[in-house]
């Protein structure tokens, strides 16, 4: 169930720029990998390509041996729903829904939102925001919002968690909390985590670091 990238290139037409050049890497099951590099080096682009949100200009991306580009839209979305969790710099919570309802959105896609309720509350408890389950996002602090969005990413118990600067918007205390959650998740649930960050301390928590410079792995 590893992610295998071979000779991946990414080219943007407007303006014409080669963002990723000949990327080959292997992310093994249960690894906690951090993607580091300067701003504009292509970290986010690489993360989105390996997580199927974006497509490569050329090269191959295999997840558990299957070429991603051959997936139908339906299968791709189903795969994301069942096996992938995303945490971004911004929480992207739906403002109309309570914390609990937000967390259960991925489960709702498959009609599992009743079954998954207990697990949602378990996650909320683990993240120390159990009593805030029925609050709207705007009634939560930035750190709490991010924890809710992590819970949403984890509700389907995915094999992979992709996260782009998850602490970018948080103070250091909340950043620590988030990193603790990830570390524990990787240790206890063996979830494969790929994290983009430019904080060296947080990058060090990962079991492996991939350095990007001008779209190349160094």
């Amino acid at each position: 169930m590893s992610i295998l990238l071979e000779n991946v290139n990414k080219f943007f037409n407007t303006p014409p720029t080669q963002v990723l050049t000949d990327i080959t890497c292997d992310i093994k099951l249960g690894e906690f990998v951090s993607l580091v590099g300067r701003s504009g080096s292509g970290k986010s682009t690489l993360l989105y390509i390996m997580s199927s949100l974006d497509t490569a200009t050329s090269g191959s991306i295999k997840i558990a041996g299957d070429e991603i580009s051959t997936f139908s839209q339906k299968k791709l979305h189903q795969f994301r729903n069942e096996h992938m969790g995303f945490v971004f710099q911004f929480h992207y919570l739906l403002p109309e829904l309570t914390a609990e309802e937000n967390i259960l959105m991925p489960a709702r896609k498959k009609g599992l939102h009743h079954k998954k309720r207990d697990y949602a509350h378990h996650l909320l408890e683990e993240f120390q925001i159990k009593h805030k389950f029925d609050r709207l996002p705007k009634q939560l602090s930035g750190g709490e919002q991010q924890r809710v969005s992590i819970a949403r990413a984890l509700i389907m118990e995915p094999s992979y968690l992709f996260t782009d600067e998850p602490t970018g918007n948080l103070d250091s205390a909340n950043g620590e909390i988030v990193m603790t959650i990830f570390k524990k998740l990787n240790l206890e649930k063996k979830t494969t985590i790929v994290m983009v960050t430019h904080d060296p301390d947080f990058a060090n928590i990962a079991t492996r670091q991939i350095y990007l410079s001008d779209g190349k792995i160094t």
């Binding site: 839209q73 979305h77 992207y92 896609k109 949403r152």
Partner: protein, 416 residues
């Protein structure tokens, strides 16, 4: 997704209510305008159909012109020059062989009733006041079955005109203009003979000014006597079993004899043109109103889609497909359409109920009760709902599709 759609609708109450208001107003406007217009039309057609016969068989006014006279008097001469070119018409227009028509009418299963008439222009005189009018000589028992006239008679029964000689019933307006009263005697002349006294045994008010101000009903024999044309009939008024057959019947009979056969809708063709124009205006107005409402939905949904880019991105990344996103926004438009349409239909119905009870000062619009006639045809309500529903769907499709086209990565990239 329906769950989320409802949440989104509820959470932006103001926009939702405004959009709803637009649809509701459009629907109400359609219902009320249609109700009044069609109500007026129903009333009007009712008047046309029931106050008058559904098919008229009339004698033709034959004009005798110069060529006709030339060939009659000088059949051998090719060119006839007249000092004063003659032109006249036959002195009495009449149905030449009414008995033939009676037989035909008696044997036609489509006929409910018919009434031979003699219509003639008269001058009514009452204490020095002279007014012209039209005398319709009828056989009261027959006439009663052809039109609804007896429902409009005051002061007596319609059949009273046959209860003795020289009895008449006048239109209310005519009666007032003459300053005469029921039971009084007035003088009637056909313009060529000495006036004859008639007793007023009643008056009628149909609401159709042309009738009420002009018409006098008398018995057929009295009219023939006054006109000095015994046995003459110049019109046969016919009532059918089914009104929709009027046109067919008149076309069938056109083939017989010299008489002109005209159905009520042919006789009133100009009104039907007015109705067509009314319909065109009505639909144009409604289209405008619904377009405004539709633009409201379109605008708001478009705005919402733009505002919700981030959420669209996250929904896609947690496994919701493009079609789920389209559905999310489309269903909001549909809900607004259904809700707005339903409320509009209910309020529109209420308003129509209210309007139908508002006193409406007499005149040609006033019914017996003196209130506005409002149509409650189910078709109006079905149409109103369908139109607002379709407008909402069209207005929601475009923003919803635009939302479906958004890819998560473009949105997330543009955010950071």
């Amino acid at each position: 997704m329906i769950f989320l759609a409802f949440r989104q609708l509820v959470s932006r109450k103001r926009q939702t209510l405004l959009t709803l208001a637009g649809i509701i107003l459009g629907t109400i406007a359609f219902i009320v305008i249609s109700g009044i217009m069609l109500g007026f039309r129903e009333f009007f057609i009712d008047q046309l159909v029931n106050n008058d016969a559904q098919v008229h068989i009339t004698s033709k006014e034959t004009i005798i012109d110069t060529p006709a006279l030339s060939t009659f008097f000088f059949p051998k001469i090719e060119h006839v020059f007249w000092n004063t070119p003659p032109s006249t018409r036959k002195d009495h227009a009449r149905i030449i062989y009414p008995a033939g028509w009676y037989k035909r009418l008696d044997n036609d299963p489509r006929i409910a009733a018919y009434s031979p008439q003699l219509k003639t222009q008269i001058i009514l005189t009452h204490y020095g006041k002279a007014i012209s009018g039209q005398l319709i000589g009828v056989v009261p028992s027959r006439q009663q079955h052809v039109t609804t006239i007896r429902n409009y008679v005051h002061g007596g029964k319609f059949t009273d005109i046959g209860a003795g000689s020289n009895r008449i019933i006048l239109g209310q307006e005519l009666l007032e203009k003459l300053g005469a009263h029921v039971t009084e005697r007035i003088w009637i002349s056909n313009g060529r003979s000495a006036p004859i006294p008639f007793k007023i045994v009643g008056s009628f008010q149909t609401g159709v000014s042309a009738l009420d101000a002009n018409t006098v009903f008398g018995s057929l024999s009295d009219a023939q006597h006054l006109n000095q044309t015994p046995g003459y009939v110049n019109e046969i008024a016919v009532r059918l079993k089914h009104i929709d057959q009027a046109k067919q019947v008149s076309e069938d009979w056109q083939k017989f004899g010299d008489e002109k056969v005209q159905s009520w809708d042919q006789a009133n063709a100009s009104f039907f043109n007015i109705f067509k124009i009314q319909d065109a205006i009505r639909y144009m107005m409604i289209t405008c109103i619904l377009m405004v409402a539709g633009f409201g939905i379109y605008n708001i949904l478009n705005m919402v889609v733009t505002q919700k880019r981030k959420e669209i991105a996250i929904l896609r990344s947690i496994g919701f497909e493009a079609k789920d996103i389209i559905f999310l926004f489309f269903i909001q438009g549909v809900v607004l359409g259904i809700l707005g349409g339903l409320i509009g239909v209910l309020v529109g119905y209420g308003l129509c109920l209210y309007l139908s009870q508002v006193p409406f000062g007499g005149g040609p619009l006033g019914k017996g009760t003196g209130t506005l006639t409002v149509s409650f045809q189910p078709a109006i309500y079905i149409r109103a709902f369908t139109l607002s529903f379709i407008a909402s769907i069209i207005a929601s499709v475009l923003p919803a599709r635009a939302a479906g086209y958004m890819t998560p990565i473009d949105i997330i990239r543009s955010e950071s």
